[in-house]
Symmetry: C2
């Protein structure tokens, strides 16, 4: 606590300091070092700001609560993703577009594997963080669903399709991402996520447009029991050919 008041005095100085890692990054780094050393519950915001050498006000300028420092990039990612979906046009196949949006989340994790793995372990241990993560996941799912509802407007059961597909995309993405996190960030998360999303696309994807049907004039199909006498088969062919 005494270190906290000492740190408070340095608040403004840090706010204007340049040439070293941004204060926000320093706070995240300090927080995770303490979470890993002492445990999440045992670490206070005062401890974090003392280690980072900044004041409490600086912490709360960036993070509304201690939980938020564990997920420092999701607000930005949600905003990016929402903007990405809002920038979609009619030319984008809706499900493929949502899968691309999910890949933005994946990249948030894969651009810093060590941090992502640390956070995954932490989140598994702390029920409060698990609840926080569920609310983050829910917000991604709603962003997907809102986009799809817009694209499916006017279709029968449009909101149902939108909600189900959004949930399936999130579940597939998270299945692949969590496997990667459990393996300590080894292997190619991108391949795994692609395969997982491919499964959803195979279940819900629009069927590829059918090749133009051959015109009925082109082909005669005769199905006949092999035991049928040849004359019957020929008669059938003749009568079919004669039909126009």
């Amino acid at each position: 606590m005494s270190s906290s008041s000492a740190a408070s005095g340095r608040d403004d100085r840090d706010g204007t300091a340049g040439g070293r890692p941004p204060m926000r990054e320093a706070l995240v780094a300090a927080a995770f070092r303490l979470f890993l050393e002492r445990g999440y519950e045992q670490t206070t915001v005062d401890d974090i700001v003392a280690l980072a050498g900044v004041g409490r006000r600086s912490f709360f300028r960036y993070f509304p609560s201690k939980e938020d420092v564990v997920f420092p990039d999701h607000e930005r990612c949600l905003a990016d993703m929402t903007a990405f979906l809002a920038a979609s046009g009619e030319e984008h196949e809706p499900l493929a577009r949502v899968c691309d949006a999910a890949r933005l989340v994946m990249r948030l994790y894969t651009e810093n594997p060590a941090f992502s793995v640390q956070r995954y372990r932490l989140t598994k241990q702390v029920p409060g963080l698990r609840a926080y993560e569920l609310s983050v996941v829910w917000r991604y799912e709603r962003a997907f669903a809102e986009y799809l509802r817009g694209r499916f407007a006017g279709r029968p059961d449009g909101t149902l399709r939108a909600d189900v597909i959004a949930a399936a995309v999130v579940a597939a993405h998270n299945n692949a991402l969590r496997s990667w996190l459990r393996s300590d960030g080894e292997g190619d998360a991108s391949d795994a996520v692609d395969r997982a999303l491919g499964y959803v696309q195979s279940a819900f994807g629009e069927p590829a447009p059918a090749p133009p049907a051959e015109t009925p004039e082109d082909v005669v199909v005769v199905v006949s029991r092999r035991g049928a006498p040849l004359w019957r088969v020929v008669q059938e062919i003749e009568s079919t050919l004669a039909r126009d």
Copy 2:
């Protein structure tokens, strides 16, 4: 607060009283009356026990927290559902079984429409209850996923399929149930849930077992351009028939 200490004195007496609605029901009824009158945040556990005429200890005997009184039946329902899935055999098609398990949750809502609609409105207004509900939904989804993972063990991408299908079932169920709750419990929730689950089954259901293929001896199929001369068609049939 004074009413709370008065109520505490009645704790043991109420615990053994018979012949009126069970104390648990009385606590739920009192809680909802106050939540609707004053708002959820403005109602304390002391207020609830005072109105119900019981003591604090009675409340906490049934409900670990104020949030739990809002969802008084989910623990039982989760237990019932887990038991239902655990009692499944190889004869149950896994996806159909999970859909039946989801219907158990629906019935929890439809057996008391007025209460369910009240709670739906309350949950929409109170962020803390929304978070609680997300964690309940997550537990249902995990129960479905665990069951499906068991059934899909050994299949390629078994856990992926299990997680995605579990999420899709939950989303479909909730889409239909929420429509029903938004319409103040009018109409047939059961039909809506059936249709929603039917959509998931159409996306992920096992294809019906193919009818036994006709033995190759039975049928000859000839595909021919309609423009082909008849003699070429007959020649083709003859050579096919001669092939064994």
